[in-house]
C-alpha cells in the first residue's frame, strides 16, 4: 500500500461531506443500501489498515463485529445500560480481543493465518452462544432505541471517516512504512530494526476496535439480536471480497469495491434470492482472473498507460 497523499485526504473530506446528505435524498430501500454501504466501507477500510500493507488476510471481522453487536444487545436488554456506554465498552472489548488474537497469531503467516482467524471467529461465536444460553438466561437480545436508519447512517459515516483519517495518518508514519516492509519481507523487517510483533498487534487491534464499533452501531437496526446472526462468518468473507475487489493498493480502495458489490448483491438478492451467494463466488473469480489488484490496480494501470501514450 502506498502512502496516502494530502490530495487524497481532501477528496475523502469532500466525499464524506457529500455523503452526509444521502439520508435527505433517499428513504426506505435506498437509505438501507446507504447504511450497508457505510457499514461495509468502515469494516473493509479498517480491515485494510492491517491486511492491506501486510498481506495477512484476516477472516476474523465477524468476531469483532459480533462482539460489538452482542455487547450492545446484552448490555441494553439484560443490564439496562445505555447505548453509548455499551458502544464504548464494545470498542474496548473488540480491541482487547483483537490484541489477544494478534498475539496468538504472530507466528502464523499465509494460509495458516487465514484459517486460524476463521476458526477463531467461529470459536468465539460458539463460545458466546454457549455462555448466552447457559448463564445469561435469554437466547436472544432486544436492542430498542429511538435511532432511525438515518441516524445509524450518520454514525457509520463518522466511523468510516475516522477509520480513513486514522489510516491516512498511519500510512504516512513510521508505523505505516514498517507495515509495508513487513508485507514485503518480514525477515528483512526485523533485520532493519522493526519490532514486527508490536507493529502487527497495534494495527490488528485498530481493526478489532473499529469492527466492534461498527457492530455496536448496527445493532439497533436489528432490534432483536442472536449470536449466530451477528457472528455470521459470511460477513468476514464479504469484507475481504469487497476490500480485494476495490484493491488493497490504496486506502480508498475498499470504497470502490463496496459500492458496486452491494448494488449487485442487493439486485440479485431481491430478484433471485436463492442465487445470491453466487455473487460472492463470481466476485471472487473476477478478482482472481481480471482484477488481481482490484479496481484501484486497474485504474492506476490505465492511468499509467495513458501517461505513457501522451
Amino acid at each position: 500500500m502506498k502512502p496516502a497523499t494530502v490530495q487524497e485526504l481532501i477528496w475523502a473530506g469532500v466525499l464524506v461531506a457529500l455523503a452526509a446528505f444521502w439520508p435527505m435524498m433517499s428513504n426506505g430501500y435506498w437509505l438501507g443500501i446507504g447504511v450497508d454501504v457505510m457499514m461495509y466501507t468502515a469494516l473493509a477500510t479498517s480491515w485494510m489498515l492491517f491486511s492491506g500493507p501486510t498481506h495477512y488476510i484476516s477472516l476474523a471481522s465477524a468476531a469483532f463485529f459480533g462482539v460489538g453487536g452482542f455487547v450492545v444487545g446484552s448490555g441494553m436488554s439484560d443490564y439496562d445500560a445505555s447505548f453509548w456506554s455499551m458502544l464504548a465498552l464494545s470498542a474496548v472489548i473488540g480491541g482487547v480481543l483483537a490484541a489477544l488474537i494478534g498475539l496468538a497469531t504472530l507466528r502464523l503467516s499465509g494460509v495458516y493465518f487465514v484459517i486460524f482467524t476463521l476458526g477463531l471467529a467461529e470459536m468465539i461465536r460458539n463460545l458466546v452462544s454457549w455462555v448466552q444460553n447457559n448463564f445469561l438466561g435469554s437466547r436472544g437480545l432486544y436492542v430498542l432505541t429511538d435511532f432511525t436508519d438515518a441516524h445509524l447512517y450518520w454514525m457509520l459515516l463518522v466511523t468510516a471517516g475516522c477509520v480513513y483519517l486514522l489510516g491516512w495518518i498511519i500510512s504516512r508514519s513510521r508505523l505505516g512504512f514498517a507495515l509495508r516492509i513487513i508485507g514485503g519481507d518480514e525477515t528483512v523487517a526485523r533485520h532493519v530494526g522493526i519490532n514486527t510483533a508490536t507493529a502487527k498487534v497495534i494495527l490488528f487491534t485498530t481493526t478489532g476496535v473499529f469492527g466492534a464499533i461498527v457492530g455496536a452501531i448496527i445493532a439497533p437496526r436489528w432490534s432483536y439480536i442472536e449470536p449466530n446472526q451477528v457472528f455470521s462468518p459470511q460477513l468476514s468473507f464479504f469484507v475481504v471480497i469487497m476490500a480485494l475487489l476495490g484493491g488493497s493498493g490504496r486506502l480508498w480502495g475498499p470504497v470502490v469495491g463496496v459500492i458496486p458489490f452491494l448494488l449487485i448483491w442487493n439486485w440479485v438478492d431481491s430478484n433471485f434470492s436463492n442465487q445470491s451467494i453466487l455473487v460472492l463466488g463470481v466476485a471472487f473469480l473476477v478478482i482472481v482472473y481480471f482484477l488481481p489488484h482490484g479496481f484501484v490496480g486497474r485504474i492506476e494501470q490505465l492511468r499509467a498507460s495513458a501517461r505513457g501514450r501522451s
Partner: protein, 245 residues
C-alpha cells in the same frame, strides 16, 4: 589487550539443531576498523555463525557481545538497533517498494531513526555511494543481480551499522561484476568500517581481509592473517582433502 578494542566478540559459541552440531565452540574477536573473513568449505557453519550474530537464532551455548554488551539472546530487531547490519546470502529486497524506499527502510528504524526528508536525503547519499542513485525510483524487479546486491548493501549501510556482516556478497556475480563488487567493498574498507565477511571468492579474501577465521565442520580450524591461514596445512586439507595437503 586485544579484548579491549574488540567491537564484536564471539566466545565459545555452539549451535545445535537437534542432534546436528552446526557450530561448535567458536571464538573470535573483531577489532574496530578491521575486516575479518570467515571462510571454509560448504556446510561448515559460516552462515549459521552470521545468523547467530544477527539474531536469526540464539546460540545454544556461548556468548556474543557487541562493544561489551551481550547480544546473543536478543531479537534481530534489537541487534539491528544496537548496530549490527547484514546482507543475505540470497539477496532480499522488498518487492513492492522502489529502490529508494528499500534503502530508506534501512535508515528509518536503525539507531539514528531518521524520517521524512532526512531519511530520503540520506538514502540518496548511500545510493550514490554504491553507484545506484540514478535508479532510485525504479521498481526493484527491473534490477540486474549485481544492482539488487548493491541496493541491499545500501539498505544495510543506511542503518549506519557499527559492524557490517556480508554473507557471500560476491557470490553469483560474473567476472566484470565481481570487479565492481570487490572495488565497492574495498571502498567500505577504506572508510574504516568494521566488517565480517563470509566469502568463497579467494581473490576477494586475499585483497580485502586483514584476518581470517577458517571453519570446517562447525569448528574453527585456523585463525590469523589471510596469507598465514591460506597456507596452513589444516586449511588446505579441509578444502582440498588429504592428498593435496
Amino acid at each position: 589487550m586485544k579484548q579491549a578494542s574488540a567491537v564484536l566478540s564471539v566466545k565459545n559459541v555452539t549451535k545445535r539443531f537437534g542432534g546436528l552440531v552446526a557450530v561448535s565452540n567458536m571464538s573470535f574477536d573483531v577489532a574496530e576498523h578491521e575486516m575479518v573473513g570467515i571462510i571454509g568449505p560448504n556446510g561448515s557453519g559460516k552462515t549459521t555463525m552470521i545468523n547467530m550474530i544477527s539474531g536469526v537464532f540464539a546460540p545454544t551455548d556461548g556468548r556474543i557481545s557487541l562493544r561489551g554488551r551481550l547480544i546473543s539472546d536478543a531479537a534481530p530487531q534489537i541487534i539491528a538497533r544496537e548496530g549490527v547490519g547484514r546482507t543475505f546470502q540470497l539477496v532480499r529486497l522488498l518487492p513492492g517498494l522502489s529502490v529508494l524506499e528499500n534503502v530508506m527502510a534501512g535508515a528509518v528504524y536503525g539507531h539514528k531513526r531518521r524520517w521524512g526528508r532526512d531519511a530520503e536525503d540520506f538514502a540518496h547519499s548511500v545510493l550514490e555511494r554504491v553507484g545506484m542513485d540514478a535508479m532510485s525510483h525504479a521498481p526493484v524487479s527491473s534490477l540486474t543481480y549485481i544492482d539488487q546486491k548493491r541496493v541491499e548493501l545500501a539498505r544495510t549501510l543506511a542503518g549506519e551499522p557499527k559492524v557490517l556482516l556480508l554473507d557471500e556478497w560476491l557470490a553469483g556475480l560474473n567476472p566484470t561484476e565481481l570487479e565492481t563488487g570487490i572495488e565497492l567493498i574495498h571502498n567500505l574498507r577504506n572508510e574504516g568500517r568494521t566488517i565480517v565477511m563470509v566469502e568463497h571468492v579467494m581473490d576477494a579474501i586475499r585483497s580485502l581481509c586483514d584476518r581470517c577465521v577458517v571453519m570446517s565442520s562447525g569448528a574453527k580450524i585456523a585463525e590469523g592473517t589471510t596469507e598465514g591461514v591460506l597456507s596452513d596445512q589444516d586449511v588446505i586439507r579441509a578444502y582440498l582433502g588429504d592428498d593435496d595437503a
